[in-house]
Symmetry: C2
Subunit: 313 residues, 2 copies
């Protein structure tokens, strides 16, 4: 299958690498100059479950696709949320009327952006539990296990979705077709919505935030806001199960010792955050449905204030 | 007049020093060991508008008053909010049935604590715009100008209030009798309620917070919560005037370059904050009156989480 990874950061590189190793015709697309140039020069380097490997995968900047790359069977979107629209605009030339587009970004509401460029029957929404880390331009560290689920959310047929599931699974990515991928996307957004903004503002890892007496009320209130809004979109979240799931990340011997990705973006790397696509998205949806979301709104404002105070870019 | 300053930190030392210089019989009461011992040994040192002075003012720990100090005409309360109850308990022996008690603490709801120890006709509530800084045990820096207003809020007569006003004014403290001191207390609490918690959580001075695009909505929302609750206590705050007043502090060439006292307490000195007596007090009152105060509640929780993360004491 001809596959383009649009947004070849850590996670995009993982999917690209594994799909390439499985024999697919993969290209990587990214805007990061040093990263793309390094892959063009020496290939994508990876520490893949402890083994150092290099794979020669064609890499492109978005603006050099036209004329060089023909139409693609499946595009997998893995950009940062705020770069999605720009990326879709740039890769129009490789989207044919049959190209399937699988959106695997974190956060909520990306389908509204994808719909402006791709007809509904070609859109696949997905959610993944794989992890990946960038160790430098052109270099990733990939370990552990994961899975990915996806669904044709806008069409009755699921043939195209099943075909992509097959290709992903043959590459070892443990894919499955979901009958309710939006539930999984909301559930994951609840994890990010309770931990990312708070740990960023508090400059705390997950365990230290979780150990505070205030964490229970903060987590419950934010999850209730997410669930109130999700209900208006026909998705009935199991609030207690999600509260427990979030709390399971507090273990200091497990995930808890880590700082969420938003903390790494803003506090460590001085980059703008994805808060508008997590808590901010819940506020926008809440306003539309007349559902009150004050914790999400205040947290979004605090993270934006912190971005400005640190002059993040 | 025989005056006891209960809580002789920076502000208590200013009032004590100025009242002592004006010829009153002043004693200082505080729990901070090094501070009280230093004043006992060498007197209270002050840089007073640029001039270095030392005043011999009797200083006591709360537990050594009994037997040594007789009843007092006026007690001025200047403790940290969370020490008020403990202080009142400790100084019972110097409170006679005629002792006036002037409460000048920052924050809301302290009268409920004072009422447990002092009969209503002896309680004066006040609000001050003086500033002061501690430079070390037994040493303060006092510059600039200020004022203080007070009122007998629980009795129709105002004789005792006027008497205290006279003594304070004779000491240069620019006192006046107020007909609505609770308005001033709420207005000042709005300043602290919008700036203290936010600048602490964001690790920011007032100007940097104020310059962020998010500041306007945060300030307005918090002031609306304060005003909604104040209304239930019969105090109608001028919301727009208070928003403008808060924004006037954003000037980086004025107050804006400073960090609020709560930031100094928690981030600089690793001490517990007064958040429960500012935004937290609005939440408790809001719950009583069935008024929603989500921003105050979330901010209170975030500050408490930060206290725990930093293991503040």
């Amino acid at each position: 299958m001809k596959i383009a990874i649009a947004g070849a950061g850590a996670m995009g590189s993982r999917f690209g690498l594994m799909l390439h190793k499985a024999g697919n015709e993969v290209i990587l697309i990214d805007k990061w100059t040093e990263h793309v140039n390094k892959i063009k020069e020496v290939g994508l380097k990876a520490n893949f479950n402890g083994e150092d490997i290099v794979e020669q995968i064609p890499a492109f900047f978005p603006n050099e696709l036209e004329g060089k790359v023909g139409s693609i069977d499946t595009v997998i979107l893995f950009t940062k949320a705020m770069q999605l629209d720009d990326m879709l605009q740039s890769i129009k030339s490789i989207l044919s009327k049959d190209t399937k587009v699988l959106c695997l970004l974190n956060g909520l509401g990306h389908e509204d952006t994808v719909k402006m460029y791709v007809s509904e029957e070609n859109i696949l929404l997905g959610n993944t539990m794989w992890t990946a880390g960038l160790t430098g331009p052109g270099e990733v560290k990939l370990f552990g296990n994961g899975e990915v689920e996806l669904q044709n959310v806008y069409s009755s047929g699921k043939e195209s979705g099943l075909e992509v599931v097959k290709v992903l699974s043959e590459a070892g990515l443990n894919a499955k077709y979901s009958e309710n991928v939006k539930y999984s996307i909301w559930r994951k957004a609840c994890v990010n919505g309770t931990l990312n903004g708070t740990c960023t503002i508090l400059d705390s890892n997950i365990a230290s935030f979780g150990a505070s007496k205030a964490a229970d009320e903060i987590v419950r209130t934010i999850i209730n806001e997410f669930a109130d809004v999700a209900e208006k979109e026909g998705i009935i979240l199991d609030r207690e199960e999600i509260v427990s799931h979030v709390k399971s990340t507090f273990d200091p011997n497990g995930v808890g010792k880590h700082y969420p990705s938003m903390h790494q973006d803003l506090i460590k790397n001085n980059r703008l955050t994805e808060i508008d696509y997590i808590n901010g998205a819940v506020c926008r949806k809440g306003a539309k449905y007349n559902v009150s979301t004050p914790y999400c709104q205040f947290l979004t404002l605090l993270v934006h204030a912190k971005e400005e105070i640190l002059t993040a870019k």
